[in-house]
C-alpha cells in the first residue's frame, strides 16, 4: 500500500544533511512551513542553501535559522521584511550570501526544473543588473534573457489537506510557491493541517498531485 504519511519530524526529515539546498514555500508567513524549518534547526543542520521568496519574516522558521547562523545563502526575490532586521545585519556583516532573482523568474525557473525545461527566454530583467553575464537573444524584435532551471534536494511545503498518496489542497493564498516547489525538488516534504482519506479530495480539486510529493506529516500550528 502506498503510504506517504509520516508521524514525526525524524521520519519527515530523513536524508537531511548539512549543506542541503531547501526550497521553502511561503510568501511572508502565508504557506511558510515554519515547523519543518524549526525541526531542521533543532537537529543541528547547518550551511543550508535556502530558496524562498523572502529570507524570513517575523520570528519563526527562516528567521530562527538565520539567527542561529545555519543558513549560508538565500536565493530569493525580496530578502527583507519590515520585521526582519537579522537579514540586514547578517548581509551587512558579510555573513549571508544573497542571490536576488525576480519573483516571476524564480518561480518560472523552478517550474522549468520540475517540467524538464532546459532553459527559457524571458523579457524580465533585460538591461538590468540582474541580467548581467546572462545570454540575451532578440526574438521577434524583443530582447530576452536566457534563464536556467532551479532545482533543490528538498522542498518544504505547508498545505491544508493530504491523503496517503500525497495529494494536496492549500488554503487560499497560502498556495503560493507550494505547487511549483513540489515539482522541482528531489524530495518534497509537506506539513499539513490534516490528513484525509484517499478519495476525500475531489479529483478536480487536487492542487498538487501526489506524484510530486514524497512525505506528508500532520502538524498542528504551534
Amino acid at each position: 500500500m502506498i503510504d506517504k504519511r509520516v508521524y514525526d519530524f525524524d521520519a519527515a526529515l530523513e536524508g537531511m544533511k548539512d549543506g542541503a539546498t531547501i526550497m521553502s514555500a511561503g510568501f511572508g508567513a502565508a504557506g511558510a512551513p515554519q515547523e519543518l524549518l524549526e525541526a531542521v534547526l533543532d537537529r543541528g543542520y547547518r550551511d543550508l542553501v535556502i530558496i524562498s521568496n523572502n529570507a524570513g519574516e517575523g520570528e519563526r522558521g527562516l528567521i530562527k535559522l538565520l539567527k542561529e547562523r545555519r543558513i549560508a545563502k538565500v536565493i530569493c526575490s525580496f530578502p527583507t521584511s519590515s520585521n526582519s532586521e537579522i537579514t540586514k545585519e547578517l548581509y551587512s556583516a558579510g555573513l549571508l550570501e544573497l542571490e536576488i532573482v525576480p519573483q516571476g523568474t524564480m518561480s518560472e525557473r523552478m517550474r522549468a526544473g520540475g517540467a524538464g525545461i532546459g532553459g527559457f527566454y524571458t523579457r524580465t530583467s533585460v538591461n538590468t543588473p540582474l541580467a548581467e553575464g546572462k545570454e540575451v537573444r532578440n526574438i521577434d524584435g524583443d530582447d530576452y534573457v536566457l534563464e536556467y532551471p532551479l532545482k533543490a534536494e528538498f522542498a518544504f511545503i505547508k498545505a491544508r489537506e493530504a491523503d496517503r498518496w500525497g495529494n494536496l489542497t492549500y488554503n487560499l493564498s497560502a498556495r503560493g510557491f507550494g505547487p511549483t516547489m513540489a515539482m522541482a525538488a528531489e524530495t518534497t516534504i509537506v506539513q499539513v493541517d490534516r490528513f484525509v482519506e484517499l478519495g476525500e479530495i475531489d479529483p478536480e480539486q487536487v492542487i498538487t498531485p501526489g506524484i510530486y510529493v514524497d512525505r506528508v506529516m500532520e502538524v498542528e500550528a504551534s
Partner: protein, 223 residues
C-alpha cells in the same frame, strides 16, 4: 503652490482605470488607488501572490493569515475572485494579461526607463520582488511618485542613474505636481497642479518637458 498629497495622487490614478481592467497595484502608495475607484466601476485587482479579484481590507477580527496581498497585509476576495499558484500568477503578469500596473519609482527616464528596486547604497540587501516582471509584463505601467526626492533632486530624468527595473516600460507618471505621459522619448505634460507654472515644473524636472497643447489643471478633491 498646491501640490497633491498621496491620497490625491491615488485618486487621480483611480479615475484613469477603466471598467473591466485587470490591474496590479504595487506595494505602498499604489495600494491606495483601490480606495478611490468610482463605486460604479468594476475593476479586477490582481496581487502577485496569486489573487485575482482582490477585495478591501477585512473588518477587524475577520483577517485570515492565509489571505494576504503582495504587501503581506490581510485582504479579502470579491465574488468572482480566484486563487492561483505563484507561477500561474506570474504567467498572468509576464504574458501580458494585466492591463495596468501601478508602481512607485526612484527614478523615471524620458524613454520610459524605470528604476524602483535598488539604490546605489550597497550596505542594504537589494530586493526586487515582482517589480521587474510587472514592468515588462503589464500593458501599461503607471508610476506614482513625488516629483522630486526629499532633498529636492529631480526623479524625472534624461537617464536613470540608479539600477534599472526595466527599459522603456513606463507609460504615464502621476507625480505630486503633474500628470505626464511618457511617449516617443519625451515627457508630455497633460495636467499640471493648480498654481504651478510650466517653468516651476520644468525646474523640478531633470530633463526637458513637453507641454501638451491641451494641458489642463490637475484637479482632485480635497482628501
Amino acid at each position: 503652490m498646491a501640490k497633491l498629497n498621496r491620497k490625491q495622487i491615488a485618486w487621480r490614478v483611480a479615475q484613469d482605470i477603466p471598467e473591466g481592467a485587470y490591474v496590479n497595484l504595487g506595494i505602498g502608495a499604489p495600494e491606495m488607488v483601490a480606495n478611490y475607484l468610482p463605486d460604479d466601476r468594476e475593476v479586477i485587482i490582481h496581487s502577485e501572490n496569486g489573487l485575482l479579484g482582490m477585495g478591501p481590507t477585512p473588518t477587524p477580527g475577520e483577517e485570515d493569515p492565509d489571505l494576504i496581498n503582495a504587501g503581506k497585509k490581510p485582504v479579502t476576495l470579491l465574488d468572482g475572485g480566484s486563487i492561483s499558484h505563484h507561477t500561474d500568477s506570474f504567467a498572468m503578469i509576464r504574458g501580458g494579461h494585466i492591463d495596468i500596473c501601478v508602481l512607485g519609482a526612484f527614478q523615471v527616464a524620458q524613454n520610459g526607463d524605470l528604476a524602483n528596486w535598488a539604490t546605489l547604497d550597497n550596505s542594504r540587501p537589494p530586493g526586487v520582488g515582482g517589480a521587474m516582471d510587472l514592468a515588462v509584463g503589464a500593458k501599461d505601467v503607471f508610476v506614482i511618485t513625488d516629483h522630486c526626492t526629499r532633498d529636492g533632486q529631480p526623479k524625472l530624468l534624461n537617464q536613470c542613474s540608479y539600477p534599472l527595473t526595466g527599459t522603456a516600460v513606463v507609460t504615464r507618471v502621476y507625480s505630486d505636481h503633474a500628470l505626464i505621459d511618457v511617449r516617443d522619448n519625451s515627457f508630455i505634460v497633460r495636467e499640471i497642479a493648480d498654481g504651478i507654472s510650466s517653468d516651476q515644473l520644468s525646474d523640478m524636472t531633470g530633463t526637458a518637458l513637453t507641454f501638451a497643447d491641451d494641458c489642463t489643471v490637475l484637479k482632485t478633491p480635497e482628501l
